[in-house]
């Protein structure tokens, strides 16, 4: 998270003389607490990475080791676990996450990317349009309808999933990816709220100037509001992407064929019923699923924090 300029230091160190020793001790204690807590939170992910580069025989070790033994096998083993080895005829010699006759990681990745692309595009466009209607136009019934928009945020998905499944079945969408992305083209309460807050901070003089230049509402929306709201639109896109990428219950309920599985759903197939889970492959696959989200967060975190705080969600 980016540090903001107007940061408040809650426990400032007393500036009185003779307190310097106390100050140093406090600072040391503070760093010890910060490092301890961070390690505790990072440990599971570090352990995941560590397991993902070990050979199967070394995954069940007591006491635990952080690196494979001998360490020199690490690059080769990492390659085998993440990629796998394929023979000249295309047959899999060593099972890895990418080349795996049992669990089709590339296919699940493709499905997830299709759903993510279609669904994020739809969510951003539809929410942007609807938020304009609530933020920039004055009409009878706007207030009460917006209250309904906010109320929909309270309805949890498990309440809707059974009847939604029946509706999608009636529409003939089951057995395809449609149930996961078509509903995203009809905006969502949270995103409408977020974008509306952002639009309201754009000065109305811009609209008026554009109207004088002969722009209609569509022109104002397309030429002025949209370009000015890029940070907020990025937040909507990022949030929705992470939601789609991580969603488990939706795919579990609506995807009826294994060829349509997304990564979140495919991941659990490593957990074999027989009890001999390939822990190193499972951890490598988990690392691969987590990686894009982390990279995306690091790339966008400045825009992300700006869009959030300007959207009035801060404090």
């Amino acid at each position: 998270m980016r540090e903001s300029k107007n940061q408040v230091v809650v426990t400032g160190w007393p500036r009185r003389r003779g307190r310097r020793v106390v100050g140093v001790l406090r600072r040391g204690g503070l760093y010890a607490a910060l490092i301890g807590v961070s390690l505790l939170y990072a440990l599971p992910l570090l352990w995941m990475l560590s397991t993902s580069v070990k050979p199967t025989t070394q995954t069940l070790q007591n006491p635990p080791r952080w690196l494979p033994e001998p360490v020199s096998i690490l690059p080769r083993q990492a390659y085998d676990n993440y990629i796998g080895r394929v023979g000249p005829a295309g047959e899999v010699i060593a099972r890895g996450v990418w080349h795996d006759p049992v669990i089709d990681f590339p296919l699940y990745l493709r499905n997830t990317l299709i759903v993510a692309a279609l669904s994020v595009t739809g969510m951003v466009l539809s929410s942007a349009v609807v938020a304009y209607g609530f933020a920039r136009l004055r009409w009878f019934g706007r207030g009460p309808l917006f209250v309904v928009v906010l109320a929909t945020m309270m309805i949890p998905f498990p309440v809707l999933m059974a009847p939604l499944f029946l509706i999608f079945r009636e529409l003939g969408w089951t057995g395809s990816l449609k149930p996961l992305w078509i509903p995203a083209w009809f905006a969502s309460g949270f995103n409408i709220f977020l974008l509306r807050q952002f639009y309201m901070q754009i000065p109305r003089e811009y609209d008026e100037a554009a109207t004088i230049d002969g722009c209609g509402h569509w022109g104002i929306f397309w030429r002025i509001i949209l370009p000015l709201s890029k940070p907020a639109l990025a937040v909507v896109a990022l949030f929705h992407f992470i939601f789609v990428w991580n969603d488990f219950l939706g795919p579990l309920v609506f995807l009826t064929r294994q060829e349509d599985f997304t990564l979140a759903l495919g991941l659990q197939m490593y957990q074999s019923q027989a009890g001999n889970t390939p822990w190193n492959l499972l951890m490598a696959a988990s690392a691969l699923v987590i990686a894009p989200v982390l990279v995306l967060f690091f790339l966008t975190q400045r825009t992300f924090v700006r869009g959030l705080s300007a959207g009035g969600l801060k404090g």
């Binding site: 980016r2 809650v10 760093y31 609807v130 019934g141 949890p156 509903p183 009809f186 991941l267 967060f297």
Partner: protein
């Protein structure tokens, strides 16, 4: 005959409705319709294969007599009662700790925030591994910590012993608390500095300063996070589902409300009507708890003039 101003008003309203029409269509098709259907199905016997058969309140009465329903209800309530207070305390504590303006603070904040980006399934898998009774890092850590004290403790089989399931799940939920921490952090930074300066002049201890200055100032945000936590706790599904796969693990100790609803709707029968009755009860509970939280909190939440 309609006069010009009324005509203008109608045109404006139609234009507004046109702009928000994507949401209206989605609301009707994917929210209002399923909720209405769900209410109707909850009063029928419906196996999908045959037409729904009207049974009145029979599903609700059957739920009342269903021991599994009470089991999942109890598990969910216990999970909520443990994870919400512990989660609130942990998130607030972490936010206070991470609110220091020291070198490298960004790295520490990132470490606490990272787990929220981990897909729940991947998180469950990693923790299943960490909680393994023999080889898991958690027990190895417990053993290593107790050995110098002369205590030989194997550590529990977190996921195979019913009594340890709930603590394991709560620990995982505390690990994924990052979103609440970020919201608290933003709130702490919004507390005016002058308030603390006044407080330190009075020679307040840090604990008193927290209770008398910080807590009241950020109380609306605490309320917001608690409500989100209530809604989330009632939906807990993916992590226990992946950890147990079959219904709820040993003694159904990890069988939760949403999981039982899912099983009824898609596995057992399926019993769509039964599942829909569960859905409506869940909705009423969440709405009721949220409303109650608002009412109870009125005395404690302080809304500063913006």
């Amino acid at each position: 005959m309609i006069d010009r101003s009324a005509q203008l008003e109608i045109r404006r309203t139609l234009r507004g409705l046109l702009w928000v029409s994507p949401w209206i269509v989605g609301f009707l098709a994917f929210l209002a319709l399923p909720m209405g259907l769900s209410l109707y199905y909850s009063m029928t016997d419906y196996s999908i294969l045959e037409r729904p058969l009207w049974v009145g309140l029979e599903n609700y009465r059957a739920l009342w007599d269903d021991p599994t329903f009470w089991k999942v209800m109890r598990n969910t309530v216990v999970y909520a009662l443990l994870s919400i207070p512990l989660g609130t305390a942990t998130a607030l504590g972490l936010a206070l700790l991470l609110n220091h303006d020291v070198r490298g603070i960004g790295v520490f904040r990132t470490a606490v925030f990272l787990p929220t980006f981990v897909p729940l399934v991947a998180a469950a898998m990693v923790w299943m591994w960490l909680f393994n009774g023999d080889f898991g890092l958690v027990n190895q850590g417990v053993r290593a910590a107790l050995r110098p004290l002369g205590v030989e403790f194997r550590g529990p089989n977190w996921l195979d012993e019913a009594a340890w399931n709930m603590p394991a799940l709560v620990i995982i939920s505390l690990w994924m608390i990052g979103r609440a921490v970020v919201i608290y952090l933003a709130a702490l930074q919004g507390v005016p500095r002058e308030l603390y300066e006044a407080g330190s002049i009075d020679g307040m201890s840090p604990a008193r300063r927290f209770w008398h200055v910080t807590a009241p100032m950020i109380s609306p945000v605490i309320l917001f996070n608690v409500i989100i936590a209530i809604i989330d706790a009632w939906q807990v599904f993916a992590v226990p589902y992946v950890l147990t796969r079959t219904i709820g693990g040993p003694d159904k100790a990890m069988y939760f409300y949403t999981h039982y609803l899912y099983d009824n709707a898609f596995l057992f029968g399926p019993k769509m009507g039964y599942a829909c009755a569960m859905a409506w009860i869940q909705l009423m509970i969440i709405l009721g708890l949220t409303a109650a939280t608002f009412v109870v909190s009125k005395r404690y939440v302080h809304y500063a003039a913006a």
